[in-house]
């Protein structure tokens, strides 16, 4: 069932969704050095999906996202816990960060921090939690 939305809303949503989503990904990647981070990126992604949901309905959103968002939460928790256990078994202590300097062809000097994996975990958890609740609450209204 489509809702009574205006064409303007639909077009704006269609065009702005990729922009918001890409910005969220940017926030996730840049978060360690610039404003951003897994939590904000997660909420931003959820907001983009919510916009889709408000304008087009839940079915449309679920066409291009996993059918169960609980899986995302599980994935996120595994990543977060895995980061901690990973550094534990490398002998650094639980959740201790490791920093790796890489030389990549295009990007030049890139710093990879093990905590980034943790941040990605947080990202998935936030997206998963928000979208689970929204999809559950919006189930019958969609």
């Amino acid at each position: 069932m489509r809702r009574a939305t205006t064409v303007i809303a639909e077009v704006v949503t269609e065009w702005s969704f990729p922009v918001i989503f890409l910005f969220a990904v940017y926030l996730l990647l840049a978060g360690h050095n610039n404003p951003g981070g897994g939590f904000i990126a997660g909420v931003m992604t959820a907001a983009a999906l919510t916009l889709q949901y408000v304008v087009f309905g839940m079915r449309e959103v679920q066409r291009f996202t996993p059918s169960s968002y609980l899986g995302l939460v599980a994935l996120g928790l595994t990543l977060a816990l895995g980061t901690g256990l990973g550094s534990l078994f490398l002998g650094w202590g639980f959740l201790k960060s490791g920093i790796l300097h890489l030389h990549l062809p295009i990007f030049g000097e890139v710093e990879v921090v093990s905590a980034f994996v943790f941040d990605v975990g947080v990202y998935f958890i936030v997206v998963g939690v928000t979208m689970t609740v929204i999809s559950l609450l919006g189930r019958e209204t969609a």
Binding site: G36, I40, A80, L88, S97, F118, L137
Partner: protein
């Protein structure tokens, strides 16, 4: 020594794999579990040469190094003996269990639990950190719960499992408090460091509480009177479990801890009276109760209680001799009691009953089982030429060696009395099952299958070996063990024949008294029934459990009424109470250290925020209230931008947006809003609460900006962000690195809360 970590982890990994293995192996899964245990035994044996040289092997896996909470593994003679006992007995008993379990039962589940227990128990004895020790200690209680309740369709199994868990885990809690106090005194969680500070511990005013609380944990775990009641009820478990957990290993964890902390806690009068007194009392009570049992496993359970009391008493003497005798008896007990349990298991398996009143004259039908039982029971009774005789002689010698007043007479007398009961019930066990009138068991008895006989054969054969040729056990196990307990080199010379002397005389008296006591079992049985109908510890346990659950329910109903406003009332008023009382107590200044005048646009923003907030309160319906609340949120977000906090502003605005939508969705589902005519009193109460909470939060903010009540840690984060966390966004580095633990906890809570929301909303009848 990375090998230690492998030894510790392999049972856990194997337990996790067992359900998969069971799909392939089916009823042969027991071999897999036994193989894991055998591998561990071999690995541990390879450490023996180092231990014989007197080295203590350690391996540290940092966990939270700043808090001294590490997974430290430590092996000395004491740990190695226990670890070997756990692995070796585990191997034999799991091989036996493969035949004991009915082919229709869930072998995968059973052996997964057994391996889980083995890992936990190895953890208890291998760890060198008090916190880790506590965690593994509670894990053994949990796996014991699972194993006692393995036949969960039986009411008695569930009861026994719950009782064992409540008593041992309760004792574990007391032990944890004891450990925390011990940490307060010694400043370390590391066992070796604690042990080296024995004099400081004994001199501390906290010594008695520490001893009492830690010993409470040992008492419950090792089933010392009056906490012994869980052990007989735990006999509802399958017999391999009884043999493994409830005679050979887990119930010895309390003895292990007493031995482990011996250098730190022993050597005082309190130690003698508490540990020695409880031990000798348990020896007598357990023996007395064992004699009159009809159920063979109950008889063995009470006998275990009694024997554990004997070892506890020996450690409680606080003498070198006591430690040696206790350790040697511990070895003997593991051998004869595990063998006896396995024999009783075979009797039950082949006859269908374990009631003495239905058994008798099985000697012809089950000759091998009979021989094993006879040997093991003779060792238990302390007859020559078995190991039990040697340790009993040592026990007597040690009790005679005590200096002091009343205990100088009382100890040897009680020792002989308790041991006389041992002789009597050992006799009853052997005679009642294998000799005398043939009984009327449900099944036609015949000898157990060959595969089942191996394990009891090996265990029973250890007894004459330990008695006739004690030198290897003495040199390879007992000396390192005693040295590990006392933390000094100990030389022991064991021999079957000690010459004529007081101990031998006491042995003769014991055997004679046992023979006299034996015919009295029927009278004791009647008398016990009479007494227990009026008073029993079991009744006390049930009664206190009822009181506990009733008061628990009352408190819950009072605190958790099911109304959201009620919960908010509790939470918010408690918060305000904590804030105000702390601030008043510490006389915190609420005047900011630096102040500047408010700029004009900031002022406008603040006034708008206040006006919108007031409007929220007076909104006529939920919908406008929610929208106004969202407005407050956005205004605060703008404030963050003005104060140069982009991360906070971004978060605030996004959260407001998403939660506004969630609110709208929820309101859509709520029943139609009926304006409530709140009474004047409630309005007053809510208004007051709101003011107080607002005041509390404002005070915290003011105090933060104030003169150093909360010293700023911003400097540290700004300095360490790049070198320590590898990032220039300090907010993010704090979230995922410096405070990564918090974040991990928060996201876990979030996921758990989500599961609750999911369950609630997935119900068909939502709305």
């Amino acid at each position: 020594m990375i090998l230690l970590l492998v030894v510790l982890l392999s049972p856990f990994v194997a337990a996790a794999l067992t359900p998969l293995v069971a799909r392939v192996l089916g009823t042969r899964t027991g071999w897999w579990a036994a193989l894991v245990a055998l591998g561990n035994t071999v690995a541990l044996l390879s450490l023996l040469p180092d231990i014989l040289h007197g080295t203590t092997l350690t391996y540290t896996l940092p966990w939270i190094p700043l808090l001294d909470a590490n997974l430290t593994l430590m092996v000395d003679g004491l740990s190695l003996f226990f670890a070997l006992l756990i692995s070796f007995a585990g191997c034999l008993i799991m091989a036996y269990g493969r035949f004991y379990l009915d082919p229709r039962e869930e072998h995968g589940k059973f052996f997964a639990y057994m391996l889980l227990f083995m890992g936990s128990m190895l953890g208890v004895v291998l760890t060198g950190n008090l916190i880790a020790l506590f965690v593994f200690w509670e894990l053994t209680s949990l796996s014991s719960f699972l194993l006692i309740g393995f036949w969960d369709h039986r009411e008695a199994s569930r009861y026994g499992a719950t009782q064992a868990l409540l008593i041992t885990a309760g004792g574990g809690m007391a032990m944890l408090i004891g450990f925390i106090l011990l940490h307060q005194v010694t400043g370390s969680w590391d066992v070796q460091s604690v042990l080296s500070q024995g004099d400081i511990v004994r001199a501390s005013p906290l010594y008695l509480p520490i001893l009492g609380l830690v010993f409470l944990g040992c008492m419950t775990k090792s089933a010392q009177t009056p906490f012994h009641i869980w052990l007989p009820n735990a006999m509802e478990a399958p017999t391999p479990v009884s043999a493994y957990l409830h005679s050979a290993t887990m119930v010895k964890a309390g003895l292990y801890l007493v031995a482990r902390l011996y250098p730190a806690l022993s050597g005082t009068e309190a130690w003698l009276y508490l540990v020695g007194g409880v031990g000798i009392l348990t020896l007598c009570v357990g023996g007395f109760l064992a004699l009159a049992q009809d159920d063979l496993k109950a008889l063995l359970a009470y006998s275990t209680v009694s024997q554990l009391g004997l070892i506890m008493a020996l450690y409680g003497l606080g003498t070198r001799q006591g430690v040696v005798a206790g350790s040697f008896h511990l070895m003997n007990h593991a051998a004869f009691k595990a063998a006896l349990f396995l024999c009783v298991g075979m009797v039950e398996h082949e006859t269908g009953t374990r009631r003495l009143s239905q058994l008798g004259g099985l000697w012809r039908a089950m000759p091998w089982t009979g021989v094993f039982t006879l040997v093991s029971a003779a060792a238990m009774a302390g007859l020559p030429p078995f190991g039990g005789f040697v340790s009993k002689e040592l026990f007597y010698a040690a009790t005679l060696d005590v200096t002091g007043g009343a205990e100088r007479v009382l100890l040897p007398v009680l020792a002989v009395a308790g041991s006389a009961f041992t002789v009597a019930y050992s006799l009853r066990l052997v005679y009642g099952v294998f000799f005398g009138e043939p009984g009327h068991p449900p099944k036609h008895p015949h000898e157990a299958p060959l595969g089942m006989l191996w394990s009891p054969l090996i265990l029973a054969a250890l007894n004459p070996f330990l008695g006739l040729w004690p030198a290897p056990a003495d040199h390879f196990l007992l000396e390192p063990m005693a040295s590990g307990i006392l933390r000094q080199n100990v030389h022991v010379h064991l021999a079957l024949w000690h010459g004529f002397g007081a101990p031998l005389l006491m042995s003769v008296i014991t055997i004679a008294a046992g023979l006299i006591l034996y015919p009295a079992w029927l009278g004791i049985q009647r008398w016990q029934g009479d007494v227990f109908s009026r008073f029993s510890l079991e009744g006390t346990y049930k009664g206190s459990l009822q009181v506990l659950s009733r008061s628990g329910r009352d408190v819950s109903l009072w605190l958790q009424s099911g109304f959201l406003r009620q919960y908010l009332l509790w939470i918010l008023s408690f918060l305000s109470l904590v804030v105000f009382s702390t601030f008043l107590w510490d006389r915190v200044s609420l005047i900011p250290a630096e102040a500047r005048s408010v700029l004009s646009y900031e002022g406008i923003l603040l006034i708008m925020t206040v006006v919108t907030s007031i409007a929220v309160v007076f909104a006529p319906r939920p919908l406008p209230a929610v929208i106004l609340l969202g407005g407050v949120g956005y205004l605060v977000g703008i404030l963050f931008i003005l104060l140069y906090a982009p991360d906070l502003a971004l978060t605030q605005i996004l959260i407001e947006t998403v939660s506004l939508i969630l609110f709208l969705l929820v309101i859509y589902r709520l029943p139609p809003f009926i304006p409530e005519q709140a009474s004047r009193g409630r309005l007053l109460r809510d208004g007051l609460l709101a003011t107080v909470v607002g005041g509390a939060v404002s005070s915290v903010v003011l105090a933060t900006a104030g003169q150093g009540y909360f010293p700023s840690i911003a400097e540290f984060f700004l300095r360490e962000s790049v070198p320590g966390g590898g990032g220039r966004n300090v907010v993010n580095v704090i979230l995922i690195d410096f405070r990564g633990y918090d974040t991990l906890g928060e996201v876990t809570v979030l996921a758990i809360a989500l599961l609750g929301v999911f369950t609630l909303l997935s119900r068909k009848d939502t709305r």
